[in-house]
Amino acid sequence: MTTRILPFLALLAACSPSAEGLRATPQGDGPEVVIDWDAEPLPEIPLPNDMATTPDATSPTGLRVNIPTEATTLYETESRLKIDELFGWGIYAPITVSFSESLDVGNIVARHPNDFEKEDAFADDAFYVIDVDPDSPDYGKPVSLDVGHGRFPVDAFRTDRYFPNDTRSASPSILFDTVDEDLNHNGVLDPGEDTDNDGILDVPNVWPPGGDPFEDLLTFYDLETNMLLFRPVVPMREETTYAVVLTNRLVGESGQPVRSPWPYVNHTRQTSALEPLVDLLPDFGLTVDDVAFAWTFTTGRVTGDLKDIREGMFDGTGPFRRLAKDFPPGFVEADQVSGRSIDDKYNFPTEVLSSLLGPLGLLGDSAGEDVLLDGMRSFSSRLVGGAFVTPNFMVDTDDGGTWDADEWFKVDPYTGSMAVEGERVTFNCVLPDPADGIEPPYDVMLYGHGYGSTRLEFLLFAPVMNRFGLAVCSFDFPGHGPGVDPDQLAEISGLLGPLGLAPLGFNLLDARYRDLNNDGVPDSGGDQWSADPFHTRDMVRQAVVDWMQVVRTLRGCGTGTMPLYDYDAEGNAYPAGGDRMQCDWDDDGVPDIGGPDANLYIVGGSLGGINSGVAAGVVPGITAWSPVVPGCGIVDVGVRTQIGGAVEAFIGRFVSPLILGLPQEDGSLRISELVNSVTDMVELPIDSIGTIPAGGTVVVTNLETGEESRGMIPADGRFRVAIAADALDAGEKRLAVDMPMSGPEDGVVYSVPDNAGLGDHLVVELFDADGTSVAVFDTWGADVVHEGVTYPAGSPLVAGSEGNGKIRGSKDARRLAQVAAMVMEPGDPVAYASHWFTDPDPYIGPQNVLLMPTPGDDQVPINGGMACARIAGFTDWHHVDERYGMTVDQWLIDRQVVRGAEERGPWRNAEGDPVLFDADDLDDGINVYGEPSDTPLRSTLDTPAGQSGLRLPYVSPKGTHGFRTPDPSLAFDINSFAIYQIAQYLDTQGKQLQDRPCYGTGDCPDFQAFDGDGGAQ
């Protein structure tokens, strides 16, 4: 009987064959794709990758990122927990895959030229990214990939920007190493060679070998880790599945194709998603048998949250529909802006204001000050102010309402749950002087200010915009306010108080900033750009939500009332009794601004440019936009910028805590801890030793995590060792030491016994060249005060602030950039620019956008602005432009406009000084600075909504971050040109983008003339 049954059993057992891949991995000995699930700090797999996701019915994509959350520090664990909330991968972030052996880089270069203008551009590529989502409009299409083509420069504008004792301070990038550590060329990391203390024998990441680190920096391949990195030229579709296909054309140095580490060329989990390749690959002259390795990734929900919030606010529909009811539009205050010397304390005459601005220094000391003040006197009438309540999604949820600098949007489109509370936001407007055709209610230009700045920036734009009949309004972005230190505050009070104008000061200082480092002084924008990509992302998104609320409010002008508020002697607003019609500050029965038919415009500069770049893809009811010096790809911007504060907050947190050796003049060596504190790097002296143990070793141990970092001590003693550590943030410190919310009180020492809980306990031990321990530091040598808390002498040495403790130029740095870029996309214009007019969001339709990066910008590096241009559709990379004999995209790369670093470019003026290329030649050949130019680009596109365009005002041959106040002394005032170009573009409601030379002087014949005495003619 058994003999009969067993075959039957075998038959049953054979019913369920194993899962299979696209094809079995062929024999070979080429480089193997690295899959190391146990790698630290995170598994080493090709990324992005749906292998690192889990199916989730509550996710719009059906997937949710799922990476290990156990990390060395709580700081990193918290970051990973948030990453695991994402619904998929990035649409613009780098795609990476590592190999067991070196690839033939020359082969990649040859197969992946920047030739997208050719019909057969993909014919012989070595790897592909293909849309394999059957529901996608782009199903079956390959993604254009940048493989070192120049769209993504990574060289920093200041290479020595990354803190003391940086052995890579001359290396161009923080993402790649360019130092050859193999001094004796034996291929082994010998003692003394590991100058960056990363434990790896670094090789210059340049191509061809021996090339110049700046000019030949290899950005698509890391020679150290055999990692291939490539980028989509423009963002991919969100919520879409893509296949990455490595073909057998991708070979190692031996010429052998790369190989899968598995029995199949793909993970069998992804076989069904990859099956469309069977039909799609022949389009590229390939079959499945040419696939060496393949994987899939699904892009996440990027723009969806803001769209859902929008529909909740405007229509009361969607998952967040309660927003419309919970946060009704309307100004909740009309604020006092003047005191006893002015008749109507809710309307401040700009004539008086113009007389104050100069002494206050709010217009700087440029030569254009008079121009602006003349304009204000001629075209402006009143300054008004008030407040609205915005749905604040950054509400504190974990620190008792005391600290929101670590918050992020907690919204769930599946359940409709959201953490949101109302936040009072103050604003101001400068209204135009009535004139022919200029009468209330005025159209409104909403201005978005820059990083760390304040809404008061709008005063610079007010005169010009008022000249065109536009009221100019602005509010502080989240966490921002006037950067006024106590001395300036005293100066302002001294000026305004005697004039009875203290309420003006109170109103203008009534802002959203708060003290983030426990020094008692508000830190404007201190948490705008941070190492927490979730918080940073949502600082942008919150600003966009604020704009939505303002738009709703402005549409309601003339309906309902706004209560009057005055300021008490401490500057607190209180109900004064009475009210006025919404937006009718002068109480004449006609709203001053807005209304259902008003044209609303948004112009933003720098941070405002970034925020408006996001908003232009999602905020309804705006007639035209002008993002000035924006950046698409915030991380691409972040790795190059030298902007103060952001580098410290972002990169500083990543590389710290740092233990530094700082030689003193007396020959001793001071040992310090360098940590991040909001926008600063702060040195916390630990102790000193009398002599430098040159050639020795420093070992830093984190007793909490057990991790140890080692570094060599050079002859000059300037060592630098990073170690990951946890520590309380400033808000947590405040709670731990019971510090008042207003900051530390004078004379009070705030401390915790034995520094318990303030930070990870560290030990620093120095060894001399013989390996003999010469010093151990596990306590502070003297009292140290950090973020308001005193670490007493003799108390345990702890980390002052939390940080990743990573090393620049490392794989970790690249991974951070990759992940941070992905996380930030929902708050990055990169995800919205294609929806301005090329692929418009149906809810808002095509928008009119004047995009205005400035050449050579090193604050929001110009490559970010040019990425916006490319994504929006201003710069074509598919068709040859007859003017240039190449694509515009290539032309801009070749002319170094995208890179924007004049000292590394080929262009020289007559004096031989390096200058930037002037792509738009807006001065029509005047060439103020002797700059080279060509046939002007001046990209202008007709769209169903009007016209949109890209303009590149050439402000300086060395580059600038935006344009400046007008400068009549210039032969051609590009600053005046730029602002008038924007103004008239708005005045035409985004229908006409003109390049009139008269913008340079502001004296176009059809403009209102200056009257010089405070009233328009």
Binding site: S16, S18, G62, P263
Partner: protein
Amino acid sequence: MSALLLGVALGMIGPAAAEEPAPTAPHTIEATFAGGDGSVSTWGHLRHILSRYPDFAVDAEGTMVGQPWSIDQRLRVGADLRYTGVRLATEWDLVTGQIAGETWDIPGDVDERHREAYLAGTPRGQIPRRLSLGVAIPGLLDLEMGLVPATTWGLGILANGGDRLPLFGRVDRGDRMIRGRFSFLPVRNAAGPTAPLVLTLGFDRVVEDDTLRMAYGQTAYHVIGSVLWRDPEHVSGGFFYTYRTQTEPGDAPRPTTVHALDGFVDAHVALSDAWRLRVAAEAVLLTGRTERVLTYADTTGTKILSGGAALEVEVTGPGDWTTFHLRSGWASASGDPDRGVLKDFTFDRNYKVGLILFDQLMGGIEAGTYALLDDRAESGGPPDGAELLVSEGSVRRATYLFPAVTVRPSDWMDIQLGYIGAWSNGPIAQPFYTFRNGGSPTNHLDQPTDGQRYMGSELDLSIGLGRGAATAGWIFRPSIWFQGGVAFTGEAMGGETLAMFQTTARVDW
């Protein structure tokens, strides 16, 4: 996630009883109450199990079961009050759980037998099994409502109350539900029923079964209907159908809907005056859809299409001195779990097949797998539904052949000898390592297993003493049962020899 076997457990849905329950006989006191006759019955048992377990690696990280021995305890007490056709009944498992020995080393607490903890003295060791009210009109209908343990249907591969002694091994718990049931005998004349045909309709709110714990916030309801021909002396058989709908706690209900169709037949034939033959078989088909377990092929839901079958043949010789058994079973398996159809079928956890291969080895590997999936150093969290991996050693994805013989040298002694051979119906693939290896079948030791299906074999021996106490009419009936086994696992399962010994001491009343 090849082993995310939803269908398995949908089975705890017994309609009317197909077999007599438990070897426990109630101790009854007849009484006369005002207004009529009634009775109070009590029953119960105290059970201790001393186990000596095999030790083996449950993963390639070196995690061992690490539980050399344990003593488990269960005190089951029950009582009912009958009064003129009305029955009020209650039953509890008290101080139930491990009381001595060592807990196992496998991380986590997903094991429902909770071998990681001493539960007897904790609230989780006090389990209400029945609190029900019944109304019966003898020979016509029977109504029951309240908390009840599931009644075992057929052979119990789907619905199993945990109330049958297995050939080898142990049973614990049993499924519980809040049930409203209506059964009646439709074939009748004025004198009463003329055929043993029972129709049952019912509705359940599930309290606990293989795939659900109401205490965890899970919710499941059954609508059940059955047709049962109940003639235990000759042929019994029937069908039941269950519609189950289940939701999970949390923001997303992740609903599951399943249709279960189960049929069985149990025939007794006298081969001669001395020899008797029993042939029993049960087959189950599950279809439905779930969002509790999702696959990459369809992240909106997963189809369920699975089935299982069991066969039991017994030939009993003169005087019940010897019984020859042949048991076999089959549980369907998914070859490619990511194709959007769950085909894996799991027998009810209380349908036991041997001591070691399933109950110990597979149970340990499953718990070890879940521990890896739940390790935050490996991932952000286990996939939804991963807890279903842990069946505590049920027959799953497998085919087995289980011949055995029972010898009863006296009324007080049973000796049993059995052999089990088992084959996997799908690739032998531990989900965690298989995933890491690109989806190619890989076992719990991170070794490729492609093409291998042989799970292993097992030889079991048991000696039971005390059966005669029941026939002797003792109120307190002591028994003791010694069991031992040795398993030879297939190469794909580690290629080890595992031995186990277990003693069960029990007093029933």
